[in-house]
């Protein structure tokens, strides 16, 4: 597609299509989603993607926008940070010689070796504690959980040893660590492997909780997280790993970071504010595209960070649109949407609401296995459209 353009080929490494053939850890569902997503990506991107192909601006010295999957963006972020700071290292199950259970750390062990990329035994509580101890003693570990479901085994180390220590020591002992891994539902992995932990971790003071959506989010936020001197829980999404997105010029720099704690308006609109994080931002944008045909313009806000939450951005948007719908994959009770509702109510935007806030969430059940049941356990685009219309009373 874009490979013929010499400027794009300059960062050829990143524009290589992702090789899915090697690992058996991918599901066919992911492939289908990936293809659908690539198409959607072109349809939805603000710029005309076709014109980007046709561009032949020889006077420009920097490469034009490039396609990169979320996986490659994460890989690039870690590679750049490992190179930049000797104290950074990655540890987790299968991160080294296997190239990562989801291939996110592909090539890193080959480049950096045993010292910087460490395969651990299947002992989450132990290796999460070891990572926290290493952070206390001056290193900057990236601790990978194969999925955040397994982080429950280690949650004491994340909360009691990492999150609270700077406070308990009154500033004597910082803990610069990143806990990362896929979060939330995948495809067909059933109840014990599908939980969303955004609300659980975001509940705790002392943690920063980040949830990227696209490749720029993934790269910029992971770099920020690694550079941050505090414990950061970095919630990825397995179904997004293979999805390619356009990467702006700016994001191709080795110093590109996305600030933690600031949301981004992905799509401007006047009629309703739709707030989401991670994979469901895609769903919201799709819903917005459909609704645009009916004359309803949605403002889609990508939270990017769950804690500290950028409530101001949501409030600014709500004060313009007067309606709010939140969309998430997690369960409704005590979730991200519930928190947004509470915060909006407590702030100035409440007076601008023309109707109560609507939460679109995962169904309040453990995740079933059968495809038809699984599909109906999570927000679909039609649920979002329905909810928006209900909120607008149309």
């Amino acid at each position: 597609m874009t490979h013929s353009d010499p400027y794009i080929n300059r960062s050829a490494d990143w524009s290589k299509p992702t090789d899915l053939g090697g690992g058996s850890a991918f599901s066919p569902a992911e492939d289908r989603l990936k293809m659908a997503a690539s198409l959607k990506c072109f349809l939805r991107s603000g710029k005309n993607a076709v014109s980007a192909l046709r561009r032949r601006e020889f006077h420009r010295s920097a490469p034009a926008a490039v396609q990169m999957t979320v996986r490659d963006a994460l890989n690039q972020a870690m590679d750049e940070e490992l190179e930049r700071d000797e104290r950074v290292f990655l540890m987790g199950e299968e991160v080294a010689q296997y190239d990562g259970a989801y291939k996110v750390s592909r090539g890193l062990w080959k480049k950096y070796g045993d010292k910087r990329i460490i395969d651990t035994p299947i002992t989450e509580m132990g290796f999460a504690g070891i990572a926290v101890g290493a952070a206390m003693a001056g290193l900057r570990p990236i601790c990978e959980f194969m999925t955040f479901n397994f982080s429950m085994q280690a949650i004491d180390q994340v909360i009691n040893s990492a999150a609270k220590t700077y406070y308990m020591s009154a500033g004597l002992q910082p803990v610069p660590i990143v806990f990362r891994g896929p979060n939330g539902a995948s495809a067909g992995v059933a109840a014990q492997h599908s939980q969303c932990f955004a609300a659980w971790y975001a509940h705790c003071p002392g943690l920063k909780v980040v949830s990227p959506w696209n490749s720029e989010d993934a790269k910029g936020l992971l770099k920020s997280a690694i550079r941050d001197d505090n414990p950061v829980v970095f919630l990825e999404n397995e179904l997004m790993y293979g999805v390619p997105f356009e990467m702006s010029e700016e994001s191709q720099s080795k110093d590109f970071t996305v600030p933690i704690g600031k949301a981004k308006v992905e799509r401007q609109g006047n009629h309703v504010t739709v707030v989401s994080h991670s994979r469901y931002v895609s769903h919201c944008l799709d819903a917005a595209a459909v609704l645009a045909k009916e004359g309803i313009e949605c403002e889609v806000v990508n939270l990017r960070t769950i804690r500290p939450m950028d409530v101001e951005s949501i409030e600014t948007s709500v004060m313009k649109t007067n309606h709010l719908v939140t969309v998430e994959g997690g369960w409704p009770q005590f979730g991200v949407g519930a928190e947004i509702c509470a915060r909006i109510m407590e702030g100035p935007a409440f007076n601008y609401l023309d109707s109560p806030v609507t939460r679109v969430t995962g169904v309040d059940i453990p995740m079933p296995y059968a495809k038809i049941l699984e599909d109906h356990s999570l927000p679909q685009i039609k649920d979002i459209i329905f909810s928006i219309k209900k909120t607008l009373n149309v």
Binding site: F89, K115, I118, T120, P121, T123, M125, G126, F127, A128, G129, I130, A131, V132, G133, A134, A135, M136, A137, G138, L139, D156, Q157, N160, S161, T165, Y166, Y167, M168, S169, A170, G171, L172, Q173, P174, P176, P205, G206, K208, D228, D229, N230, P308, E346, G347
Partner: protein
Amino acid sequence: MQNMLTIISSALCRITGKNVLLIDLSEYVNLTSAAAPALARTQRQPPKPPPGARVVVSRSFADFTPQATFDIKKCDLHRLEEGPSQKAELTREQGLQYYRTMQTVRRMELKADQLYKQKIIRGFCHLYDGQEACAAGIEAAINPSDHLITAYRAHGYTYTRGVPVKEILAELTGRKGGVAKGKGGSMHMYAPHFYGGNGIVGAQVPLGAGIALACQYQGNNQICVTLYGDGAANQGQLFESFNMAALWKLPCIFICENNKYGMGTSVERASASTDYYKRGDFIPGMRVDGMDVLCVREATKFAADHCRSGKGPIIMELQTYRYHGHSMSDPGVSYRTREEIQEVRSKSDPISVLKERMLSNNMASAEEFKEIDIEIRKEVEDAAQFATSDPEPPLEELCNHIFYNSPPLEVRGTHPWSKLKSTS
């Protein structure tokens, strides 16, 4: 002699900046030597030092033994061909130093007991008296640049790792002069290369292995001493840590302070195997007499050498005893007899054991020990005074120290109108 002492005195004053008066030991001899009881009754006082001066007893002919070698108990070994030396050398200075350290910890803990009963200290308070030889012996064998982490019975280690008694007591009483500004309390005190004070049983062990990983990673030849109790010895995360430490040859000394009771449960009722020094399986181990500071020191030296030479982790089980209950809310007599406590106190008290050794080898005088006791009593008394009179941390501190190196943020208070500020 007097002239020489004057010269040395003034030289010392210039060097140390302190007011020093050197006194010839012979001035004391008649007072303390048992051979002349009649003379002892004459009220012969040594020259009074000027105010603010430190009394330094000089060496003279009727001197103390400067150094002696003691036989110490042999350690039971696991997967080790040889163990630590069975002879420990002790110099007079070292002996007095260890005595001072242990006595300070003892008096500090007893003061904490008192303050707790007066309700000036609240919440959790796990006292270390009886176990002083462990903290003192370990510190004597490692460098200040080495690392140490322990569980909640941490006041002794907080002291040996360099935090003054005053800051420990003030932390217990929750004042702003406490080592953690009153925000941590008994179980959360920190110092350079001392990582607390950890409240969750066993959680400190993976942390300690991680600190050892950092030492190995940075190639600084430092080690980490990771302590846990007989109660924590059954935690799964310990075995996870042992596995990784052995696999990666981390320079970590895992030390089990076996004081025979995990809260109210005796070791026989909690552990299928009470050979804690063998519980590391593939990790070599030693069982050490934890009531003898020299034994602890020699074993720790051996263990430190083992780790520094790249052989990987090692386990030490220190057999010790706590006089108090598990915490201040536990009288400590429902699961053990008062006779048992009394027996340990009379036969194996670590401070008495050291003192007897030094006295019977003429390494110091009873007077000296008494002097030291008086100084320590005063130090602890002053510290307690500070700890009770220092103000509590100001409310402005409430939300600080959530994040490090981050811009100030707003923290929600108890209601929506309460918007509090947090700075790093």
